[in-house]
């Protein structure tokens, strides 16, 4: 199974990277962009007997390692084999 985890900076945290990307886009002429936030995308391939269990394990991974709750939020989706890229 594949967990697709998205980790984003909490809204209260400054996101200088997002601001810089926004400015970069504006200078390339993409002036319709009003906001950019930059986070992380983590693709975890794992073995689990059921989606339910996979969900629990990935939740634990996020809590313990993949995200830092002081500055980040996370959410994820579980996918069964197939669509991923390798």
């Amino acid at each position: 199974m594949i967990a697709k985890v998205i980790v984003t900076p909490k809204p209260v945290v400054n996101d200088p990277q997002g601001n810089t990307v926004k400015q970069g886009l504006a200078s390339l002429g993409f002036r319709e962009v009003s906001d950019v936030r930059v986070g992380k995308y983590i693709e975890v391939s794992l073995d689990a007997p059921s989606e339910h269990e996979a969900r629990q394990r990935v939740e634990a991974m996020c809590q313990q390692l993949l995200a830092n709750h002081v500055i980040e939020d996370f959410h994820f989706e579980i996918e069964h084999e197939g669509r991923h890229q390798r």
């Binding site: 945290v13 400054n14 200088p16 390692l65 002081v70 500055i71």
Partner: protein
């Protein structure tokens, strides 16, 4: 006294801290390995600078799970001196031994330069050799040293006097212009409530000999030695 310098894969200030302890101060030194199961009787554990585990994912995120960190936590709970410098500070925050987090510099660039620090507290084992509100010159070298904590945590830190160092100008003014990385409240270093766990982004081990451009860092090392000696006597 005996200093323990902790080495993770990817740590690089270990030998610099070791050099100051051993060659400049003439104190006892032992290196602690991330897989070690005890702290070898150290009086102060230094978590030095570097990129433990490449700082991949987040600075300090993987390092905090090293086996030795459990012992460091217990040692801190007993009141032992735990001193995180640069990457060490980041690891202590990730491990929850200090509040808050260190995020990407506002400039998005790595910065290696001298900074001035206002010593907000000189009643700590780490700063007793500094004068009250002394300005010391200490270099930084990091890409992710911008201190962040949520507003409640931040005001608690301020109320408890847990901010130890703030970036300031040469005259001691704490201004946005003197802030090299966008840290909230210009914070460069904090302690836990009890005052035995210190985290700081600047590198005192890089300014403990005149040939390196300054000796203010040595004051911090000397403070630790003096407080340990005092503790022993009393």
């Amino acid at each position: 006294m005996k200093f323990g310098v902790l080495v993770f894969p990817g740590t690089w200030s270990d030998r610099d801290c070791g050099w100051v302890v051993d060659q400049v101060l003439g104190e006892q030194l032992t290196y602690l390995w991330h897989k070690d199961a005890d702290l070898k009787g150290c009086d102060c554990v230094i978590l030095p600078g570097g990129f433990a585990y490449g700082d991949y994912l987040r600075t300090g995120a993987i390092a905090r799970f090293a086996p030795v960190m459990e012992k460091v936590g217990e040692f801190a709970d007993r009141g032992g001196l735990v001193w995180g410098i640069c990457n060490g500070f980041q690891i202590l925050c990730e491990a929850g031994l200090l509040p808050g987090a260190l995020i990407r510099n506002a400039s998005l660039e790595f910065r290696c330069q001298w900074t001035n620090l206002m010593v907000d507290r000189n009643d700590l084992p780490y700063t007793s050799q500094c004068a009250e509100r002394e300005v010391i010159r200490v270099p930084i070298s990091h890409g992710e040293g911008s201190y962040f904590a949520d507003p409640a945590t931040l005001s608690r830190l301020e109320q408890n006097g847990q901010v130890v160092f703030r970036y300031c100008d040469a005259d001691g003014r704490v201004t946005p212009g003197a802030n090299p990385n966008g840290s909230l409240h210009n914070i460069a270093g904090i302690v836990n409530k009890r005052g035995n766990v210190l985290g700081m982004m600047p590198h005192p081990e890089r300014c403990s000999e005149p040939e390196l451009g300054g000796t203010d860092g040595l004051k911090l090392f000397r403070s630790v030695v003096e407080s340990a000696t005092r503790a022993l006597v009393s």
